[in-house]
Symmetry: C2
Subunit: 282 residues, 2 copies
């Protein structure tokens, strides 16, 4: 007999996975952390009973957060990852020999240690020599930093609990200041379909577009997230995600990806009309 994990995608909508084993359950200073093994998704983990990462579909999220900005500016050398405790975002970044330094600031060390033990598929590259880990509050970490990064990736939970400040106006302003003149900010941007996710999507977008000259949103499908229709924000000081897209330069890296490709790059910025309209009004 296994054990089941249920996430509420909305008040009256449940997504339930029959797991084979509940292999880890601890409360950190910040949140409840659980790891499960399952037939369908392999190992997966949850924070405060919200599904974060599964072995089966994590490639989608991690490729889409990292390769989109790298294909707009292949000269990115210095990256700051905020959150991203499972290490999947860092893993994708380490595939670029041209990246020189990756700082990862994750508030909850217990998440990282558990992922290193139970989810090596995502966490295995955290020991790369270019990576430095900081177990700190990303909001404090970035405050006061000036023109230090080519790229900031906000790989956060939903805006409740420890992730909340990563959706604040002050935080986005600090990101703007911390970015160099070609800098790009990618942030976890929630989803347009269910009411709660949509509200957070709109709040985030209205803040970011008041700060960055270029502020776009792109979509991708994560089967294990509510509605499957998930978004990242692409904000920058100068670079446009499509006008400045360097298709040929990116292809030269010869990085094999399972979800991202250079056709999908432009396509992911073409949003359904109802999403586009909501974002325009935000």
């Amino acid at each position: 007999m296994g054990i089941s994990f249920t996430e509420k995608h909305a008040d009256t909508v449940d997504f339930t996975i029959q797991a084979d084993e509940h292999i880890y359950s601890k409360k950190s200073q910040f949140q409840k952390i659980d790891f499960y093994k399952s037939k369908e998704f392999g190992t997966f983990f949850t924070l405060d009973d919200i599904l974060m990462t599964t072995e089966k579909d994590e490639f989608i999220y991690h490729e889409m957060i990292s390769h989109i900005p790298m294909a707009v500016n292949p000269d990115i050398k210095t990256v700051l990852v905020i959150g991203g405790g499972d290490g999947g975002t860092v893993r994708e970044l380490t595939r670029y020999p041209t990246i020189e330094r990756i700082e990862m600031v994750e508030i909850d060390e217990m998440v990282v240690r558990a992922c290193q033990k139970y989810l090596p598929q995502t966490a295995s590259m955290l020991g790369d020599l270019r990576v430095e880990l900081f177990f700190e509050d990303g909001i404090k970490y970035i405050s006061g930093k000036k023109e230090m990064y080519d790229l900031i990736l906000v790989d956060s939970t939903d805006p409740i609990g420890p992730g909340e400040g990563l959706f604040s106006k002050q935080f986005y302003k600090d990101c703007f200041v911390a970015l160099k003149e070609n800098g790009i900010l990618i942030n976890q941007h929630e989803s347009p379909f269910y009411e709660n996710d949509r509200m957070e999507m709109l709040r985030a977008h209205s803040k970011i577009k008041g700060i960055f000259p270029i502020s776009k949103v792109y979509q991708f499908n994560v089967p294990t997230y509510a509605s499957g229709n998930w978004l990242f924000g692409f904000a920058s000081k100068k670079l446009h995600p499509i006008a400045d897209f360097k298709r040929d330069e990116w292809e030269k890296f010869k990085i094999y990806t399972r979800y991202y490709n250079t056709d999908l790059h432009c396509a992911s910025f073409a949003l359904p009309t109802y999403v586009r309209e909501m974002l325009e009004k935000a």
Copy 2:
């Protein structure tokens, strides 16, 4: 106290909707038909406990099955819809004043009658004077017909029960013969993520690409379908979905759509690498 409806997205993955009311439950000659009312999705119905259509997200499926081919050939006059008992596909087609005739062949009259009563949002245009309804087996209906249609839309259930023959090689061959020289076939093409759906997707694609000179697949997000990542096939004798895309001509119809738009048209054919590779090998 409400009632809950659960669909198995995979053997160990459940999607559950807390409904307020179970308003209809009957067995037809072909399948079990159930209608529910729910807070999140409005009225929705299921066939053999597989979710078909919800008031909240039906616009996505119905816009994407109809407007994509209409924007490739805006001169389409004669359309055959096979399946599509909820009427949503016909509703979208009736928005084109240029379409002269729509034949809808649905095997199960009880589905249509129940939708007319409980789901007028989709079924309301079935009385349009250009529409003729046939309650027959689509496989028999199309057999022997020659160069009669500009467009055939296969708006079917999954390939189990009454929908099974609509995924057969002979049926696709009959569609080819029944289409005029500019003809387009759109078919419900399942989904790449969960094993069962993926197998049906590959079987359908391998059959169609052996018959039609042009055979492409496009994607869209249906939040209430397994994984959210759903596909339609676009097959034709001559017209290419992107090279022959008539953006300006379609815009002139001034049809307001909530999901489809002319940017999304091309974008929907850009598939994730893992899907593209599976289809190429099929």
